[in-house]
């Protein structure tokens, strides 16, 4: 369990993190989302005692980070894949971490096996690809078999097999009752991994809810219907007071509706349905909706389809 209480970090004039209060609970994967510059990294660094909060408090299982004896046995973190000395071999990197926390030597070999780096254990880390560096970082997080795990952008640089692996690793760690806290920019990946979300923007807490609630609150959900008896169904639904949207390709959509109710109505009137599927917007859409105000570097995304033609033409005429 990680508890944040009024956590604040100020750099000069700029509030990087502003009065954050939330709790990361065990047994689930908690996703940590926010646009670039929202304060995610600063928050994670304060959790690990690397940065000192301007105000407020972070507690790991009730203790301050620097009160933990052998902290790697409580909390393992992957902060960034390159937080290691490139001239040191993967094995020695893990060995020095293990020794500093009194973790037995053979555990090093185990985590190397776990992340699949055994064949390159004696090679220097600077020759590693981003994905291999990431695996080494993950090995470091698992080293102390901690009850709490923290991952910052864990899939960076991994190939699909690696992404699949880390996703299932995080889920199974949570299923064992551990606390798993993971930040990522990849919404589609988060949608598959996280159970709970903490969203921040410009250093403030924007949301702290379950994945399902987050999507439900921040986007449109609807039921998609296909039927060979379109007119009859339309009639039935309208009489029942259900608003139906007809889409171009012959399907019907009912906003916010419950598929159960529509299914019952159709059955009552002996209408055959070929599809009755509840649809929900993606996490990405919900996230965009929520954080629209707090993004630092805006690209010209307002009118993407037309834009390139326009800028291509402008200078070609002259040259």
């Amino acid at each position: 369990m990680i508890e944040l209480e009024g956590l604040t970090k100020r750099y000069g004039e700029k509030m990087a993190v502003n009065n954050l209060t939330f709790t990361v609970r065990p047994g689930i994967v908690t996703g940590f989302l926010g646009p670039n510059g929202a304060g995610k990294s600063t928050t994670m660094r304060m959790m690990l005692g690397l940065d000192r909060p301007t105000a407020g408090d972070v507690r790991i299982d009730g203790k301050h980070y620097d009160q933990l004896k052998d902290p790697l046995k409580y909390i393992g973190a992957l902060l960034d894949a390159k937080a290691m000395h490139g001239g040191r071999s993967a094995y020695n990197h893990l060995l020095c971490l293990a020794q500093s926390n009194g973790i037995p030597k053979k555990r090093v070999q185990e985590v190397l096996d776990t992340v699949g780096l055994t064949p390159v254990a004696r090679k220097k880390a600077k020759g590693f690809s981003l994905g291999m560096g990431q695996r080494l970082g993950i090995a470091g997080a698992l080293l102390g078999d901690p009850r709490i795990l923290m991952f910052d952008e864990p899939v960076n640089g991994l190939d699909p097999e690696g992404i699949h692996w880390i996703r299932n690793l995080m889920k199974s760690l949570a299923a064992q009752g551990r606390t798993v806290f993971v930040s990522s920019h990849l919404m589609s990946e988060m949608a598959l991994t996280a159970d709970h979300l903490v969203v921040i923007g410009q250093g403030r807490l924007l949301a702290d809810t379950s994945m399902a609630d987050f999507i439900a609150q921040n986007s449109r959900s609807y039921v998609r219907i296909r039927t060979p008896h379109r007119e009859r169904l339309l009639d039935v639904l309208q009489r029942a007071g259900v608003t139906v949207v007809q889409t171009g390709n012959g399907t019907l959509e009912v906003d916010g509706g419950k598929s159960e109710r529509i299914g019952e109505l159709a059955a009552q009137h002996r209408i055959v349905l070929h599809e009755l599927s509840p649809q929900q917007a993606s996490l990405e859409e919900a996230f965009m909706q929520l954080t629209a105000e707090s993004v630092e570097y805006h690209a010209h995304s307002e009118a993407p389809p037309e834009q390139p033609r326009a800028w291509g033409d402008g200078w070609r005429k002259e040259s």
Binding site: G49, R52, D70, L72, D80, A83, H85, N92, C96, N101
Partner: protein, 256 residues
């Protein structure tokens, strides 16, 4: 947190990077080779020296002439041991593993100092004996008065230089910045300040000027230095303590 664990961890760190090996071996080779070369040249020049120079001829000190270059390698060693943590990003991993920053810095300095002391003493003795072999009949013996003190002092001097560099690197964090300041300072600035009459009185309180007195056995003729060999080493130690204290405060206060 048991300090023993952290010390073991730091030992793994220091022995598992190439820079440790090359900086220390460079310090050994340069100090010995240059010492031998200058000893040999001095022996051949001895008969051409004037009487005063012959009287204050210090064979022990001559054999340590390579120290002026060898100490630069020791500086690089000291700087890299500390600032590598920052330049590679390892510091975040290290401090997450050992959040007690005092314990972290203490262990790192202890391990690096121990290693530097070992290498320094070996270098100092080898340099002395090989240097005296070059000097032939003008050489000194280890049993002569003050000689053993000078030879052990040579090892201590190299160790203290490395420690001073560690403290500076802990304050500055960047290897380029630390080396950019320390190398020219010890190679040029300090020598100039120590030899120009106007600044000589201040120059001799600089860490290397003061510390190197420990390697002198024969006092120069016009000596007016207000401290002896151990006094000089003491001044150097004060510098080292100040640098390490500064480094500790910076590490403790600033975000990693």
């Amino acid at each position: 947190m048991a300090t023993g664990q952290v010390i073991r961890s730091e030992w793994t760190k220091i022995r598992s990077v190439a820079s440790t090996v090359w900086t220390l071996s460079l310090a050994v080779v340069v100090t010995i080779a240059l010492g031998m070369l200058i000893s040999l040249l001095s022996k051949n020049e001895f008969d051409n020296m004037d009487r005063a120079d012959q009287l204050s001829f210090d064979p022990t000190f001559i054999s340590f002439a390579g120290m002026s270059l060898g100490q630069l390698a020791m500086i690089v060693f000291g700087v890299l041991v500390v600032s590598n943590e920052y330049s590679t990003g390892m510091i975040r991993t290290s401090l997450a593993a050992v959040p007690q920053r005092g314990s972290f810095l203490f262990s790192k300095i202890t391990v690096a100092t121990g290693l530097a002391l070992l290498v320094g003493l070996v270098t100092s003795f080898v340099t002395f004996f090989l240097g005296q072999a070059m000097l032939g009949e003008h050489g000194a013996y280890i049993g002569d008065e003050g000689v053993l003190r000078a030879v052990i002092g040579g090892g201590l001097y190299m160790t203290l230089i490395a420690m001073f560099s560690m403290g500076v690197a802990a304050m500055l964090r960047s290897p380029m910045l630390s080396l950019g300041i320390l190398m020219p300072f010890f190679f040029l600035v300090s020598n100039i300040l120590g030899n120009v009459p106007a600044t000589k009185k201040i120059g001799r309180y600089l860490p290397d000027q003061a510390g190197s007195k420990i390697m002198q056995v024969v006092t120069p003729v016009d000596n007016d230095t207000p401290y002896g060999p151990w006094g000089g080493l003491g001044i150097m130690m004060l510098w080292v303590i100040a640098a390490l204290a500064g480094g500790f405060v910076v590490l403790k206060r600033r975000d990693a």
